[in-house]
Structures are given as C-alpha cells and as structure tokens.
C-alpha cells in the first residue's frame, strides 16, 4: 500500500500542445495516460467523483482529427477536470453535498463552455468541500495519504498534484484554490475578481468567490486563462475589462526592473520555519532573475485580519445563497450546516461594516502597489496537516488550524487582486511549500510572468513535486 501518490511526470499543457503540434503524441494518447494514472491512484487519492472516460475518449479522437486536419483550437485535446461545484449539462454534478445527490444540471457553466470551445477535453469531475465551504472526507494529499489535501478545491489540486490531469478548474473564496494547490504541490491561480465568469458554478459567497486554473506550471495557467478569461454579459459579477490576448506573451525569465514587495507585517508573523526558509530562498531566486526586493509595510492587515472579515461575509452570504434549503438543514454535512447556522447570527451592520472595510484593505494594497509591482508571500504558512489535525504549533504557540490556513490568501479575496501559488521547496517531511505572487487588479500577466521566471530558474518550482529538496516520491 503506497503512502504517497506523486512522482508521475505527465506533460503539462504547453508540453502537450507542443507534442500534438509536432505529431509525437496525440490527444487520445494523453487522455489514455490520464485515465491510466487515475486508475492507478484512485480510490486511494479520492480526487475523482465522476470519471467520464467514454466521453473523454470520443472528444480526444475528435481533437486528434482536428490536429491532423489543421483545425486545432487553442487548447485542442488538453485533458482537464472540473471541481464538482461547476455545472456540466447532462453530467451528474452534486456540489459535494448529499443534499444534491444525483443532480444533473441542464446547462453548462460558462467556464466549462469556454474550455470546450477551446478544444479541451473534460475527463473527470473532481471532489470539493460541500458547496465550496463545508468539509470533504474523501480526498487525501498525494504527498502523504495520511494528510489533508486542503480545500475547498481538494479534488482539482490533489488530482493535478498527483499527475492525474494537467489542468483543473477550481474555485476560491478565501484561498480554496491556493491553499490546496500549495499543500498538493500544484500551481493555483486566483484571477482578479470578475475576470472569469462564475455563471453556472455554485458558491458560498457572491462577493469573495472566484474561479481559476490549477496546473503544473505558471505557463500552463496562462494558457488556461487565455481560454477562460473575459466578460460574460450574463454573469452580473463578471467584469467588462480588457483581456490580454496571451497571458504568457511576456514570459522571458528576466525580471530586471521588477520590484517585488516583501511584506513586513502579517504574512509571516506566524509561519512554520521551514516555510519561511523556503519562501526567503524563493525570493532570492527572483532577485537573481533581476527583481529588486523591497520591504513593504501593511499594518492595517494585522489590525483587521482579513479572515475576520471573511468570517462575517461568508456565513451571511452562504446563509442567503442557500436559504432555500434551510428546511433540510440536517441533510448538510456538519461543516456546511454550521456555516449556515452561524449565518443566521450575522448582524446586518456587521456584515456591511465588513464589506466597507474591504475598501480600506484595497486602499492599503493600492498604496503598496504604487511602490512595487508584486508581493511575494508564503502560499500557506503551514504545510499539509494530518487528516484529523485541528491545531498546529508554531514557535511554541498552539493555533487552531482554521486561524492559519487562509492567513496569506484571504486578503486577496477581500481586495480582489490576482494571486498565484507555485511550489518552492519542501519541509523536513517532504511536504510541498509554496510561494504566492500577488499583483494589482487585472495584472494576471505580470503575476504569472514572475511565477514563470521563478519556476524556470528553480527546480523546486516544478509542480507535482517539491523538487530537489523533497523526498523521493513513490510511483
């Protein structure tokens, strides 16, 4: 019985596209390889909730024909998975909830439609915390099956981290793409709020929720973003903002002239030592690529604690979003049920105060981004905890895990800025450590360019594994 499920080195999105173009590999080959890895790693990993092998093979054959005919689209034949909060017409989509067991949507989510239009091939629906905010008892960490995969995009991140798929789409209302990506050794991008349509995806929060790609590299995330970014007039939360023609267009591994902010407050005030060491080393890699490291102060974050805002906003919005099911409250799992009940207690002035304070957080970040181009922080201040672990000790102080898991991520949901995590090493147990890069709103291209430069210059940045500092993974 293996204790870890990493070590498989399936090609990423860019490599597959190059292979398809060169004729050295076909979409059908790639899909068969994904299915083989899924077969070898499930059900131990618990990332896949609905395998669509037959439809994927048919779509891969069509994609293979298009490559042969010269009619390939931008992501033609790229296998991908969707978090099971994202609707797929005619395909069971249960939102990780027993209450929605057997649900089959009538329409595709917009993000899925755009991927299909770009030629990508849906292989699997992937595990999620209940309705993006409860719990998920099935998904394990690919680096240690006794450990937590993180959430709520557990399935997408564990799947990409284990090498099942080169691309998955997750959602993030406080760190739900970036924390599991950090713990599972994947790259996870939360784009700017409103950049990617959320129409057809269930959420726990109107004002904090985002969709984004999980991949093996920043370049792959850029290629995915090319397909899914852009205004959706039918989604009231989608922004009508200009979209880059190619989010990877400026990838050149040269960061000369780029000012990278190193926060003096909040982000590393509570941080496992191995994480702090790896992130500091990662910043030096950025400096070696030409970036200038600039200390920056964010004193308001410590005073506010972005998680404190989230703890008012998410229960209130989730309780409203799902109020139609309150008469079936006991059919929810413990975690989501508790959230809905807590939502009944949020006073309207407190909720509105939390929303109004977001402006103050945005303004503090905007002031910092007037002096630097990006911030470099830990993706998570802790590495993956054990499955039944509720607390963790940092520098001799015991903390509830819930107080630490989103400490570095939720601020960018509160403010709406884009942020990406990339693996940047490992702790003493071989568990992935991650670097987070955040930029001003709409500058995903710069965010991904910096992450790509880091990955290109560091073996530790290779997704799907913690790199040379990590232990050998079982195959």
């Amino acid at each position: 019985m293996p204790t870890a499920l990493t070590g498989r080195r399936l090609p990423g999105v860019a490599d597959l596209l190059a292979g398809y173009a060169a004729g050295t590999v076909t979409p059908r080959d790639a899909v068969e390889e994904c299915l083989a890895v899924i077969d070898a790693t499930e059900p131990a990993l618990g990332a896949v909730v609905n395998l669509l092998a037959g439809a994927a093979r048919a779509a891969a054959d069509e994609a293979t024909r298009r490559w042969r005919d010269g009619t390939a689209r931008p992501l033609e034949g790229i296998p991908y998975g969707l978090k099971d909060t994202i609707d797929t017409a005619g395909v069971r989509t249960e939102y990780g909830s027993a209450l929605h067991k057997g649900h089959v949507p009538e329409r595709d989510a917009e993000v899925h439609r755009r991927l299909v239009d770009a030629g990508a091939v849906l292989v699997a629906k992937l595990a999620t915390y209940e309705l993006e905010a409860g719990k998920n008892g099935r998904t394990r960490n690919p680096f240690d099956l006794a450990r937590n995969s993180g959430g709520s995009s557990s399935g997408p991140c564990a799947s990409v981290g284990a090498g099942q798929l080169p691309l998955a789409i997750g959602s993030d209302a406080g760190g739900s793409i970036r924390v599991p990506a950090a713990w599972c050794g994947a790259v996870g991008l939360k784009p700017t709020y409103g950049r990617v349509s959320r129409r057809g995806a269930v959420s726990c929060s109107w004002t904090l929720g985002h969709l984004g790609p999980i991949t093996r590299s920043a370049r792959d995330a850029a290629l995915a973003l090319n397909a899914i970014a852009g205004h959706d007039p039918l989604d009231p939360y989608s922004a009508d903002a200009p979209v880059d023609a190619d989010y990877a267009a400026r990838f050149d591994q040269d960061l000369t002239g780029v000012r990278v902010g190193v926060p003096e407050n909040w982000f590393e005030e509570v941080c496992e030592p191995a994480v702090a060491v790896a992130v500091a080393a990662a910043r030096e890699v950025l400096a070696a690529a030409g970036a200038t490291l600039v200390p920056v102060a964010l004193p308001l974050l410590r005073r506010i604690n972005p998680d404190a805002l989230k703890h008012l906003i998410v229960p209130a919005e989730a309780a409203s979003l799902h109020e139609g099911y309150l008469d079936r409250i006991d059919e929810f799992g413990d975690g989501f049920r508790t959230l809905l009940l807590e939502g009944q207690l949020v006073a309207a002035p407190d909720y509105l105060r939390a929303l109004r304070l977001r402006r103050a957080v945005q303004e503090e970040l905007a002031a910092v981004f007037a002096t630097v181009d990006a911030l470099a922080t830990p993706g998570s201040v802790v590495t993956a905890p054990l499955l039944d672990q509720d607390t963790t000790t940092v520098d001799g102080v015991e903390y509830p895990l819930t107080a630490l898991v989103a400490r570095t991520t939720s601020v960018f949901n509160v403010a709406g800025n884009p942020a990406v995590v990339v693996p940047c090493g490992a702790d003493e147990r071989g568990l992935p450590v991650s670097l987070q890069i955040a930029t001003p709103p709409w500058r995903e291209a710069e965010c991904l360019r910096i992450a790509d430069a880091y990955q290109a210059r560091s073996r530790a940045g290779a997704a799907g594994g913690p790199g040379e500092s990590g232990r050998s993974a079982l195959t």
Binding site: P236, I329, A360
Partner: protein, 68 residues
C-alpha cells in the same frame, strides 16, 4: 459556552426550527470562537464615506430580467 449561548441558540432555533440540538450547539460554539474577530472588525475606525464594494453594476441593476 459563553453566558450568551442560550439567547444565541434560541435565535438560531427560531430561524432554523429543523436544526438538531447538537447542530445548534456546535454552531453556537463555533460562533463564540469567533467573537474576537467580530470585536476586531467593530473596533477599526471606518471612513464615513467608504461604501460597501457590492459588485452589482448599474447596468445589471437596471436589467431586472437577464436572458439565460
């Protein structure tokens, strides 16, 4: 449990009558555990001109029936 737990539980039960007693008790404990967060949010001076960044655009607001 804090001294305020019974009124809190009563309010929760009044809002969601179907919730099991154990679920209410768990939610009350969780809510109590975040009391410091709420106090922190209430203690920050707020710019009186700061408006909530609700994402609804005027265009959306004025379009009561969006086509599907």
């Amino acid at each position: 449990m804090t001294v305020h737990s019974e009124p809190t539980a009563d309010w929760m039960r009044s809002r969601v009558p179907g919730a099991a007693p154990a679920a209410v008790e768990r939610a009350v404990r969780s809510w109590a555990g975040k009391a410091a967060d709420r106090e922190r949010v209430r203690s920050i001076p707020l710019d009186p001109t700061a408006e909530p960044p609700l994402p609804a655009h005027a265009e959306t607001w004025l379009r009561p029936c969006r086509p599907r």
